[in-house]
Amino acid sequence: MSQHYENEGSAASRSKAFVWLMQRVTGVGLVLFLVLHFWVQHMPTGFLATAGEYSEILKTLSEASPEVVDAIADGKIKEALPGEHVITYSKVLERLRTPLWRIIDILLLLFALLHGMLGLMNVLGDYMKRVRLRKAVVFCCWAVTLFLAGQGIVVIMAVGMK
């Protein structure tokens, strides 16, 4: 037990305290962001297409390109069931054209990635004693975090600027 108190005040200990604080800050932020995200993406609101709207969207898309007709015939794209609300490209595009929504989505992405990857590093660190292995895993986690953050931000900005 004593070894937990040996590093008190050291750089490693302070960085752990910072991670602890970050998990609290991002966690509380994520609760708010995810309520909004769930409301917008999973509940039957105006941000999704109704069955009728979706049918018309598919009609427009099939007139524009024969690939869509093939995809519908293959069952790769399906019509909405009665009463179903569907996430669709045009609605996402419409929403992300607003700069505020782009900011909200990028913040959600960064908060979720930071919270998730810090949590993952914390969990993995519990099962690794060897310092070099732990450092390698932490490095890989940060690399994955940066990659996913870049990927997500590029997608959000690319859609928003269309």
Binding site: V28, V31, H42, G116, L148
Partner: protein, 200 residues
């Protein structure tokens, strides 16, 4: 003559039923050096095999009453199975499992959204997620997020405001809130798939 503590070749598979010599290592006054090279390689292979199977962390020669806290997957499993699962332990396991699955889902989600580059690809991607099985997965995702969020808020609130003996009622409150939110949020998701077809 030097006395050496030697870890036995055979694993103590019977746990506490074996003699203390097995657990603490045998004190031997003579070390065998006469084994042939082939024998030593064979023993080495068996030693590796047995140690991988019965890995308890670094501290093999622990004293009685000393807990084996060396981090390893085996230690994790033995910790999980040695506890009677009470509310605190259940909260810890569920928080960890939901957290790990949400990180995995987050990575898949971000990579999937690359299909937003092309309307056709995006509609096909969304159609994949509209499979009835995935609607159950969506509700489970909501349940995981809700549990992780409420339990995280409980941990936060407990650090700040509550004495530790309040953890049990607070954990039951977390479970109740999770179930309520999952049902309220899940119904609109599964309604068009599983309930509307049943209605006259």
């Amino acid at each position: 003559m030097s006395y050496r503590k030697v870890t036995p070749v055979l694993p103590p598979i019977y746990g506490d039923a074996c003699s203390s010599a097995w657990r603490h290592g045998f004190v031997m006054d003579r070390v065998f050096t006469s084994a042939s090279l082939r024998d030593r390689y064979a023993m080495g292979i068996w030693m590796v095999f047995i140690h991988v199977l019965t890995y308890r962390g670094m501290n093999q020669n622990k004293l009685p009453g000393q807990s084996d806290t060396t981090p390893s997957f085996r230690t994790f499993l033995s910790t999980v199975f040695s506890y009677r699962v009470r509310s605190g332990m259940a909260a810890w396991i569920l928080h960890r499992v939901t957290g790990l699955s949400l990180v995995l889902y987050l990575a898949i989600h971000i990579m999937g959204l690359r299909s937003l580059g092309n309307p056709l690809a995006f509609e096909a991607y969304i159609t994949g997620y509209r499979n009835p099985l995935f609607k159950f997965a969506e509700v489970m995702l909501l349940g995981s997020v809700a549990f992780h969020a409420f339990n995280g808020l409980r941990i936060f609130a407990q650090d700040m405001y509550f004495r530790s003996e309040r953890q049990k009622p607070l954990f039951y409150a977390v479970l109740a809130l999770t179930i309520i939110v999952t049902i309220i949020g899940g119904l609109p998701i599964i309604f068009p798939y599983f309930i509307t077809p049943l209605l006259p």
